[in-house]
Symmetry: C3
Subunit: 283 residues, 3 copies
């Protein structure tokens, strides 16, 4: 494999580390906010292909090197064409939903280690992982999009009701508020929330354990569980199309503009307490 | 719209209040027990039509003005024909299941604010809402029907397993016991249970927040989440048919008669601790 | 009915007790480990047929007479042909998955009372029951199979994601660790975990309550809830086939052999802390 992360360029935002041939880590490192733009999608695409084709990897942990942010929303300062112009993937879906549709079907166990904000793309990635564990004190999950008149594009309408039931899913999606570790655990948004001091050890222990098991048995079990728990690519695609359609509407454009004026996309309170600030936009 | 609640008649049981063009409240007010008979269904039908067609409403909260009862079971003192003779609705289902099939698909976010007993119809309405929040101390949810030999008619066999998994759903349906706020939250029967003193403020805050968001984005998100989380009308109809068939069976008629003799349909202990009393009928 | 448990033979491993015509108990009693081999499957098959055909039984509770073990894994010292050579059942599935496919559809409410380890078959039986209640202190649930390179055969890939969502299901299946009462309740693996001293009384009270209700209403409610919550027989069959295929692979044979050398299939630490020991095999 020739990974984006092997290139020594200034745009490197995602690091792939092989703790062993069986156990990989993928670390989001785009300070200060871990915003997730088109370049990051391209890097994820190469990592996705590696996870699908490597014969040895059994488990991959996604984590962050950026204080306060696991993985953040899309880049709203760039051009929309930079996102929608990315080549489609093997599923026929556009680049980001393509990756999210493939990750749960990949022959490797994916685990999200969530410390800091998992906003928008970050939440969507966690939901596409096979498991997720959150810092009780420091994790915040958020599908914030409706707050600026957007429809989320990476599948949460498809995944959240299956995970936590319709009522709690609609609260996450339509309340669009910041959700901390305790509530995320109660709702089943994550597998479990652990005390921050225990999170790294727990996830590393679980990943090491799974990496010691037989890959063929892992694949068969995952494939059979997937049969009744995954949305179709068509359903994921419908969500993406609704997202793209929503971005260009005046209601969204105006709210995004106002939010940027208030400090969105910059280090500070708006990014840290996004749930609060989107609740002020339409009043 | 010309609503049933606009008519000043002595039979008015449901009040519609517009806190703003975007945020409505629907209040059940049929003291002393908030029993839900055919007249209330007709009033709900008009409110349902208004929720579907109004261009401005984004969120509706259902609550109660009757101490101790959010919304109660059907009227067992009236004639069955008064219920089954109501005209069918647009879905082709009879009046009550028609309303419950339409509410989750309506272009408005529905929230149940549960204080007091949500027995039978009350539980069914809460399950058809997009979200529900309960008083930790004062909410009681109950699908009590099997206790008198009945099958519930308003969809809980279709909704509960999707919401909380098959095992807990069957306990609710076949144990038929009173379920308080803590257990309702643990099982995901409601989104959350809150301390009674905080419930009104929390729900009002959430409703006000959602009412500030863009209606088009709300509708698209709800539509996409519905695609994988709602039962079909056929499934709802099958439950209704089983309910109607069960009412006329001697096993049900005898148990209902005995329960009425013990105080059912009157203010007092039987209505307040229905779970206990139905457990005594068949011994 | 003429049950296997009516035969006074030295191989009797499962006892059927009729507390009343409406309320039966089925007790696993194969000391010291409650291992579940082909003979036990035959005994369960007769009990299954009785549950399906008896006109009076409304509720059955499965429990254990063996200290420390609710119901354990398959017999790995016997020949595979003794298992796969059992005659298929009415569903067309092999004997064990046939029983597990029929139990949730049977016209009787099944409740698992879990005290001690529910490992492999024990977890699968609990998942096929309509409800399950666990000892908070003494229950341990485990789908341990991937730890020895096996795919579980009795349906957990089909049932767990529907019960607790995909993420937690994959953790149970691919982490393969021992899961105690608290976590089992949090994940919805069981309906509830109760203090050990209260468990028997609670389950007996619930079973007695359900046994007092009308059988016809029970059946109709269960049938309608099943319509949206059960996997197809084909899905159960696919899991079974993957299990049988996995057993003969060298990866599994070697791990099982090593585990037996370390104390598997004997009273002691390996059986009691199986989750720990399978985590050591591949390192």
């Amino acid at each position: 494999m020739k990974s984006a992360t092997d290139k020594a360029t200034s745009t490197k935002q995602i690091y792939l580390t092989r703790r062993s041939p069986n156990y990989w880590r993928v670390t989001f490192d785009n300070p200060p906010l871990n915003i997730f733009g088109p370049e990051a999608i391209l890097q994820m695409k190469e990592i996705m292909a590696a996870l699908e084709t490597d014969e040895h990897v059994k488990v991959v942990v996604f984590d962050s090197a950026v204080e306060g942010f696991f993985l953040n929303h899309s880049d709203f300062l760039g051009k929309l064409d930079d996102l929608t112009g990315l080549p489609s993937g093997p599923t026929g879906l556009q680049a980001w939903p393509d990756i999210l549709a493939r990750l749960p079907r990949a022959p490797v166990v994916s685990i999200a280690l969530i410390r800091g904000r998992a906003t928008g793309n970050g939440s969507e990635l966690a939901l596409a992982c096979d498991m997720s564990f959150a810092s009780r004190e420091k994790a915040i999950l958020s599908q914030w999009e409706v707050g600026v008149g957007l429809v989320p594009g990476g599948g949460p309408m498809a995944r959240l009701p299956r995970l936590m039931g319709r009522g709690r899913a609609l609260e996450v999606l339509l309340g669009a508020d910041d959700i901390g570790g305790d509530l995320a655990e109660l709702y089943g948004y994550v597998n479990r929330s652990l005390p921050d001091a225990e999170l790294d050890g727990f996830v590393d222990g679980l990943a090491t354990r799974i990496a010691s098991f037989d890959k063929r048995a892992i694949i068969d079990i995952k494939r059979l569980a997937n049969a009744n728990s995954l949305p179709s690519d068509v359903e994921i695609g419908a969500g993406w199309d609704a997202c793209i359609a929503s971005i260009v509407r005046p209601a969204a454009q105006e709210r995004i503009k106002t939010l940027i004026e208030r400090g969105f996309h910059k280090s500070g309170d708006v990014e840290e307490r996004l749930g609060y600030y989107i609740g002020q936009l339409g009043r």
